[in-house]
Symmetry: C2
Subunit: 196 residues, 2 copies
């Protein structure tokens, strides 16, 4: 197929079909872009909620012995510190990506913004997955302990703390799920399209 | 732009440029496909190496007390069991994805196989990142312990075991890095292309 430039008004080519002179018909790609926007808002809520929930986790037991004062806080564990920082980064990136998502709604056939979003979404998917999974491993250990290395479960004592960090991990995994859906949707809407 | 079908031999449109009647010129997309194939082989080696290294980690100390026999093995930790299973899955998927990678070399402008690879790569990226990060969190704990929850470092005693599981985690993070590069490359090569 060879292409010949006909007119400015016939740029509305969707899905590989050619409709010279027809009105703009963004089709299903606009729907994907709007869905992308909505899911992105959900991912912002999930990631910032995860960061906030983890960052406010702190519990001090109302008694102490000669050797210990029993206090559990997220900054006792470097994994949880990484979690708070990583999820705050992911939330910040998602807020900054909103304008690009709006651009894909306005120009559903533009490959540029979508490609940009896929690449950065992939990077921040890795960041949020790693922080969520690392925190989940520690939360599991806090709940169950480990016999062989003689690490005792601390959730019997620090029930509220454990509930809060578990909630944060669940929120981060929701953010991961939403990011995977965002990447797949953008990838599906990317091809069949020569207009940047 | 309106398109007019000229001839069968002029399907060789790369990069949005139109060259009617010229010989097939796959261009940079073929290079991306070959690079994809090579990096995929590297990711197979990294993921299967990670699974094998973790699965063979086992150390028994040559002394024991009245209460404990000191043995460390990957199946003491459910996180490491998950790691072995997840990395084996990722390696298996990557082996099965090789034919699709070869298809993208043969037909560099086909969007279908590339899209298929992006979607499944994203899913298995999440799997390998989560298993690698969870194992890394436990490895960190094994090296450094945690004061506040009274979890002692076990790597002083189990040096060989710790080295082997650390190596497995590093290999899994190499696999994660390669998968991110694979997804970004496929996404960049996806648009500007109407041929499935």
């Amino acid at each position: 197929m060879s292409t010949i430039d006909v007119s400015e008004s016939s740029k509305n080519i969707g899905n590989g079909r050619k409709v010279p002179g027809a009105p703009l018909r963004p089709g299903w790609k606009k729907g994907v872009a709007i869905m992308d926007f909505i899911l992105r808002l959900g991912a912002i809520a999930a990631s910032l909620g995860a960061a906030a929930s983890m960052a406010t986790s702190d519990q001090t037991l109302p008694f102490f012995t000669q050797f210990f004062q029993f206090e559990a806080s997220y900054d006792s564990f470097s994994t949880f510190q990484f979690f708070v920082i990583a999820m705050a980064f992911v939330g910040g990136y998602l807020v900054l990506s909103i304008p690009f998502s709006i651009v894909t709604i306005i120009r559903p056939h533009a490959a540029g913004p979508r490609l940009f979003l896929i690449i950065l979404d992939t990077v921040f998917l890795t960041l949020s997955t790693s922080s969520g999974a690392a925190a989940a491993a520690i939360v599991y250990l806090a709940h169950n302990g480990n016999q062989d290395s003689n690490w005792l479960a601390i959730c019997n004592q620090f029930g509220d703390f454990c509930q809060q960090i578990s909630g944060a991990v669940v929120a981060s995994l929701v953010a991961v799920l939403l990011l995977v859906v965002l990447i797949v949707m953008s990838a599906v809407a990317l091809p069949h399209n020569s207009y940047l």
